[in-house]
Assembly symmetry: C2
Homo-oligomer: 383 residues x 2
Amino acid sequence: MFHYELLRTDAGSAARRGMFQTPHGSVQTPAFMPVGTQGTVKGVTVDQLRATGAQMILGNTYHLALRPGEDVITDLGGLHTFFGWDGPILTDSGGFQVYSLADRAQTEETGVRFCSHIDGTAMELTPERAIAIQAALGSDIAMQLDHVVALPAERAVVADAMRRSLRWAERCQQAQTRSDQALFAIVQGGLDPELRRESAQELVKLDFPGYAIGGLSVGEPPAAMVRALDFTVPQLPANHPRYLMGVGRPLDLLEAIARGIDLFDCVIPTRNGRNALAFTDEGPLRLRNQCYTRDEAPLEADCPCVACRHSRGYLRHLFQAGEMLGPILLSIHNLTYYQRLMSAARDAIEQDVFAAFHAARLSGWNRGARSELASGGCEPSDA
Amino acid sequence: MFHYELLRTDAGSAARRGMFQTPHGSVQTPAFMPVGTQGTVKGVTVDQLRATGAQMILGNTYHLALRPGEDVITDLGGLHTFFGWDGPILTDSGGFQVYSLADRAQTEETGVRFCSHIDGTAMELTPERAIAIQAALGSDIAMQLDHVVALPAERAVVADAMRRSLRWAERCQQAQTRSDQALFAIVQGGLDPELRRESAQELVKLDFPGYAIGGLSVGEPPAAMVRALDFTVPQLPANHPRYLMGVGRPLDLLEAIARGIDLFDCVIPTRNGRNALAFTDEGPLRLRNQCYTRDEAPLEADCPCVACRHSRGYLRHLFQAGEMLGPILLSIHNLTYYQRLMSAARDAIEQDVFAAFHAARLSGWNRGARSELASGGCEPSDA
């Protein structure tokens, strides 16, 4: 039931305009998925989420399996019903969260043993279990379990984790039971061109409906991530979607789109929003700054989101007063900003002007950063 | 510009159906005002607030004057623009918050000296200052500064505070500068029929556009509050609205409407919502209770609010997981519940069946309470 179509490649870059169909509707790419970690995008109702322009969301298998448990979600009608989101959903495999959140995670060939970060319960996540949980959740796209290593790491460690991820990809494929759920593989191999190539080529032999690039945005400099995309993306087949996991800032998204990436997820828009940082085409605004106290302007004059019906002065007040509505409104604004950025990127690709669009956005963000440095009134805040 | 019209009095009770007009629109009474303490009803956007059925909201003068300050709100276009709410707004005088929140509040004839609960700054609130702040905020209805005493209290203390409140009412009236802002007086006098009568009669002589009953819901038993209404409301003129300040639970609202009250405000729907308690016609549900884990039903089958598009199991999960969306959705449900209760009360008065409506609701709430006690699975929670 999953089907990807490459609609157009930009004349001046590797940026792609595509779309894929899922049992819960289609997604125009490049696309950004808001992260619904625990069955909710933090602070945002599904109506508000749809109004941001979001087409598809991501759910975290690790969090949902721990609480409330996939059996509870099944009893409550599956993840779409539970969440109240009737559009496409992608679930990760839980691998990344185990490495980053769980206590005492130990990887063996069978899987990962770990202790829950909620109550310390000893648990195991195997490729088969990751697929079974995701089958129970009923997401439209499931991810293979992979072995993530923090960078920098020794080549032998990265190679070992990459090859284990290959074996786990095959086990995940064999464990699949649902024909209405597409399974994406994850390319690993750190910052090493040879290892990335081996990973991509071996996964392509297994023939997955989509390919993710994992193991980036895990501590390496942004330039290193971009280089990794330079040598990894060309290894992936053009007729399948490419998903860059856990990335990133607005500029990271455009760099990745320019290299042929189709799909993204990241907590940055909501996490930064909760910390009073608002994204704009003129760079980020740190709303706690004194200079916004009496600022009647909205965050962005042409933004249609509910936050932009208010003044910056009001939004600053909400954060100063510790009111929940501050994080809510800035999360909505930032999610809207990301969706508008993706929409503008799709338009630019359709018109073969992605490179110019990319340069114009970088210029605006840089101008904003310079202006902020030059303004004595706007000190860097805790955001 | 303020105008109240009594449309009908219920055949079997003192319940009244009325309406009043303000510069920002009309309000059908009986009406309930959600509380927007610091320029926001906690966790709820103005779109969501309007969707609950709210006609008018309350802003807290004490909080807004302390942070961001009424001068900032004036610079940002006044309270309606600041809040983003273009409907009617009532502001309290700050008196009650000074008594309940400020440090070292000392009342003299001039006014109240106190220290800000935010940073300890020494401040003074006089009748003239309370009116000046409210004039700067630009609310549709302003409240006089009154002297509130906690109950129980000695008769001499209650009498002294009531008579000071009378003198302050006159000073507030003289301090008024805006013709587009109605000033309501506040009847004081604790639980003493003589003192309440004196307060009401003296205020009526001063001829205010509306009368509030203050100094209730400050520690006395609910039955004592109802008795106080029994002897206070008849002292108030029929052709002016009557506002019972800071009350209350759904059953308190119906008891007060039955005695001729037109207007209410209270933090109970939002505060209890944030603590996982949902109001229903079958009594409150405590969503943290284990018994809701796999409950597929909405909070109320016929409720149109966004929370009721989800299962109780999902809502419980949000609270168990510490997700902001739990407090948000239950605040919206409870505000919707209160507005639907007011709407049903207005309908019942129009059909001369308020007493039967009142009895039916009490019966439902009692049935719910009994059922909760009988159910072993539902333990009382921290709500």
